[in-house]
Symmetry: C2
Subunit: 213 residues, 2 copies
DNA sequence: CTTGCACTTTACCGACCGGTCAACTAGTGT
DNA sequence: ACACTAGTTGACCGGTCGGTAAAGTGCAAG
């Protein structure tokens, strides 16, 4: 078991760099965090960073992969599959996000908002590589939302003709907007105050779907 | 008429700086645009900038004031007061935003999203001054939304017990989220695809408002 | 003519940016 | 004992960042 184990004590520097990059970039932003700061927090010299990653962008891309994997495992799957009924699942999801943002604020003093949405806003106009990676992760989140909505259709909670793909996209859009507002407020209460809008948006018959193609 | 006129040919440099800062910061982001670039685009030397403004932050604050004033005059007031009926007004607003984003993309090659939301995301965690200024402008937008919703209540389009303040905040949140998604896609069609969600959110009875305090 | 002031110009500052490089260390397989 | 290699280290690079200082320009009032 030496070539099969993915992470030995080797790569300890690599893991530390990914962890430091996550904490700093999620807590602030891509451009406001420098290579030097990431290395300092990781306890690794700058040259080692460039041994494991071609540069800052590649480090960020790898960090986003681990970030999404953890988010899927710790929030998306337990939060969306746990409760019974669509409304309860939406509420559980909102509270999970609220708990994350509130914890980040007490730990680092800042309410970060959505790490993916933040990066999409910050780099979307001038870094196509990062933008497309973020777009991929957002699509993955949308797919989780859609499976929850499909289940609600099967259980009769939503009408059979519901366009669950479109509704899942709207779910993500509203969630991103809620997190933008919460970040502008720097107040996690904004998430709870705006959270019920998700139920209003997703649990209503959406009378106009004649957008047939 | 020499002290009363607000802008003579004096202050031409000041106006040029505000205009350049708007084009560059709205088109990209705050941190990615430097003082030197703003001065170059304005045709003004760096020292002159520091004659009119204490620094980059103050220049940005003044730019945001003029940006909001123009947005209110050119989009908010004509777009929201023009059409008859809530649904038509929402649609007109969505199409006005879509037209703006599409024009920006053809002119500068980039779809910028919401300038205020972008800045809130980029600087919200580490520049309280900018954050509070943005928060003020977002509140002003919300107030416009609310007056439209109040009018809809008076016209019987919405039930009398509607919490128009909360609904206006949800309107803004969803609009911001739609623009985040459009920026991640770099495609103005996303605005039109997600736009109908605004109608679904605002034109439904919103059964649970028992969030009394 | 001279003084004062708003504005401009240019040179310059220290700090920091992402990234490079060559030398070095330690562990492994032969 | 040896060579090879993954990993580490610290010095260094040119460029850019926001901001400063001081000299200079032109115009208007006294």
């Amino acid at each position: 078991m030496e070539a099969t184990t993915p992470n030995d004590t080797r790569n300890a520097s690599r893991e530390a760099l990914l962890q430091a990059a996550r904490e700093l970039i999620v807590g602030r932003s891509y451009t406001s965090v420098g290579i030097a700061e990431i290395c300092a927090q990781a306890g690794v010299r700058k040259g080692s960073l460039y041994h494991f990653f071609p540069g800052k962008e590649a480090l960020t891309l790898a960090m986003l992969e681990t970030l999404y994997a953890d988010f899927e495992r710790e929030v998306l799957i337990p939060g969306l599959a746990g409760a019974n009924g669509l409304r309860a699942r939406i509420d559980a999801f909102v509270h999970a996000i609220h708990a994350f943002e509130a914890r980040m604020q007490t730990e680092s003093g800042q309410l970060p908002g959505c790490p993916f949405g933040n990066l999409a806003v910050e780099m979307g106009t001038h870094n196509p590589t990062l933008r497309q990676a973020i777009r991929k992760h957002l699509d993955a989140v949308t797919a989780h939302f859609r499976s929850v909505l499909d289940e609600a259709v099967q259980d009769g909670e939503l009408p059979p003709q519901t366009d669950t793909g479109a509704a899942a996209e709207q779910w993500l859009a509203l969630m991103e907007g809620i997190l933008v507002m919460a970040k502008a407020d720097q107040d996690p209460a904004t998430i709870l105050r705006l959270g019920p809008a998700l139920g209003a948006l997703l649990l209503n018959p959406t009378p106009e779907v004649r957008h047939e193609r």
